[in-house]
Symmetry: C2
Subunit: 399 residues, 2 copies
């Protein structure tokens, strides 16, 4: 499958001079994403196109020469989706950042390399809101969000990336560009190939243009923080809140995650608590029913403390939650897991992970978009310790 460097002139001919990287130091940053896969290969070349036509040219060249393609967004993935193979062609979308907002239809058309935060900021200037907010929203790209069908903190109420994608332009493996969806809010005719692409991790093609639905400016959001003596109490409070109201945020961190964040940010988090719950509501009703319900449930589960925060403090605590993965990462090499459960089974999952950590004498920090049952057990290991393997062996496999 490897291709001689003799073929590279043809690739260079088909693309602008600065769009093709082939020197070893240029290739190095494109070998890995944030999963830091120790088995990553070295690409033959990296292409950084600015247009759909340039993506097509690169894909056609790869198809003709049977060179495997690894599509890449901002390279912030934690599960190795952009890990290069030896002799592959990396096609990175980082220079594809155009954006065009249509306030009348409340939609936006973007190129895939635009960062989530850039999109949010641009539409906010027009009084509009793009809800999906992965914890990495300041550094991750929309193309990557689509490839992984990214969620986030507000997704418990406002849905995941798939819920906002109205249209895609994609380049298929033979270099054809096709449009999926018509960019309409209501469009239910025919098989939904659009939704098949969302979350397909670059395996079906490369997204080159995206039409997204927007919402009006978000309603005011009130945040409550609670600290618990036991993970059981925290997990049961979460399950009750999720069944009683529609929180706009319902996040969880355990002691290991809280301490990792506090080591970095010194926000005055409670290092002794077994579990931390951060709940939000944008219920604007005059009686603040949701807020009252959330407070009552948290207080009924024997908390150390419950704090109704100011908006500033609430945003700082949400940032603390978003900082959890890099903070835990700073403690050693990270193996990120991504486990979804029905919310009533959350206590059981937390228990099970604790038991695995104890049995294997390994640190597993536990954070969760708890309100939708999406959890991230964060296994911290030492890549230089042979007993802890090379990061691809689950801790239970060596017990």
């Amino acid at each position: 499958m490897a291709v001689g460097s003799a073929d590279l002139p043809k690739l260079r001919e088909a693309l602008p001079l600065d769009a093709v990287l082939t020197e070893a130091p240029q290739l190095e940053p494109y070998r890995r994403d944030r999963a830091l896969d120790p088995d990553a290969g070295t690409p033959l070349a990296v292409v950084l196109p600015r247009t759909t036509a340039e993506v097509q040219a690169a894909v056609r060249w790869a198809a003709e020469h049977r060179v495997p393609i690894v599509p890449r967004g901002a390279g912030t993935g934690l599960s190795g989706g952009s890990t290069a193979l030896d002799g592959c062609l990396v096609i990175g979308t980082e220079r594809m950042r155009a954006i065009e907002i249509d306030e009348r239809t409340r939609t936006v058309v973007v190129q895939p390399g635009l960062l989530n935060a850039e999109l949010k900021a641009a539409v906010a200037e027009r009084g509009l809101w793009y809800p999906p907010d992965p914890a990495s929203f300041e550094i991750c790209s929309i193309g990557g969000n689509i490839a992984t069908n990214a969620g986030g903190l507000c997704c418990v109420k406002y849905g995941v990336t798939a819920d906002y994608v109205l249209g895609l332009e994609v380049v298929l493996a033979d270099g054809r560009a096709v449009r999926l969806g018509r960019g309409l809010v209501k469009d239910v005719a025919g098989l939904s190939l659009l939704q098949l692409f969302v979350g397909s991790e670059g395996t079906l093609g490369i997204v080159t243009e995206v039409t997204l639905r927007l919402l009006p400016t978000p309603p005011t959001h009130r945040t409550v923080a609670a600290w618990f003596r036991s993970t059981e109490d925290a997990a049961e409070a979460i399950a009750e809140i999720a069944a009683a109201v529609r929180p706009s945020m319902l996040e969880y961190m355990d002691r290991a995650a809280v301490n990792a964040v506090e080591d970095q940010l010194a926000l005055g988090l409670n290092r002794e608590a077994a579990g931390f719950v951060l709940a939000g509501t944008d219920d604007a009703g005059p009686d603040a029913r949701e807020l009252t319900t959330i407070l009552a449930i948290l207080r009924a589960h024997d908390p150390i403390s419950v704090e109704e925060t100011t908006p500033e403090r609430g945003e700082r605590l949400a940032s603390a939650r978003r900082a959890a993965i890099p903070a835990v990462e700073a403690k050693g090499r990270l193996l990120l897991e991504d486990v979804g459960v029905a919310i009533p089974r959350l206590p059981e999952l937390i228990h099970g992970v604790e038991a695995i950590a104890r049995a294997n004498d390994v640190t597993i920090a536990f954070i969760a978009h708890a309100g939708d049952g999406n959890t991230h057990p964060l296994v911290v290991f030492d890549p230089d310790d042979p007993a802890e393997g090379r990061g691809r062996t689950a801790p239970t496999a060596r017990s």
Copy 2:
């Protein structure tokens, strides 16, 4: 492709006695849905299973004997999706009506034959809400809603059927039953074959079990009705409302549709107005910002009258809108169209349809889920008039 009646004993053997219909008078009601296709064929047999295993038995028999299958829900479709072919096997889900609600996870598992209204009523008893509300919700089935990815009046804010489907059990063409999705609120791993099935009109398999997401009891809903002198004024008001707020309902009927409904229901609708707009909001904020905005926009477009309704009157007017298709149907044979546009293009579409109706001297009533740009031009024709064809020829084709 036709199969001898000699094969029917094998089908009968595989199924309970009362699940297989083969007598002509029994078959007749299963030849057509509400599209009343004049070219409908006569099935060899109709199977009315109660379980997934019975659906599998029928599908296996059909696969073995190469008999085409026409899946059928409640038979309320207006576009002929359940029209029988000569010698086909109709598999109808009307006896598959089990329901199991899980309040803790706010999900429900149903068989496909359950009516949308039955589902809504059952979950409402537990303080839960299933939003999708096609105008036919009292008579259409959940299986049919999934086959067509049905929308409805509240979908402008709360989304279509696809947004609520978390899991499916489907029987494929060879009789295998497979599960798609895991019934979890957050589930973004792998290709979304689940979403590929939603809206696939029975072409990929037969849905035999559905897991649906529910919401808490809906917030209070306030309704405003406005009557306009011109369709332009109405359409422009709609586009402005859709851009300014997030209405929970934004419906439109033209004069022909209003008159057809008034002929049947005598609700005191304004027969003289060129266009009728029905807007709803469930903004519960203390300043009722959305309601104020909607009223201001409607009043700025030279209306004949604007009425802030009581909840009872609002529900009666929504019922009037839901009654539009059967009311127009009573005027002659109906050719239902289903056209989606970006909302700013709504005035242009309404104009274009009016021009086609005039040029062809045919009645085209126009109704719309205007807030999401989903319109239904309703062409009324006389099936016995040779000039008006047999219902499959678009009016423009004979001009």
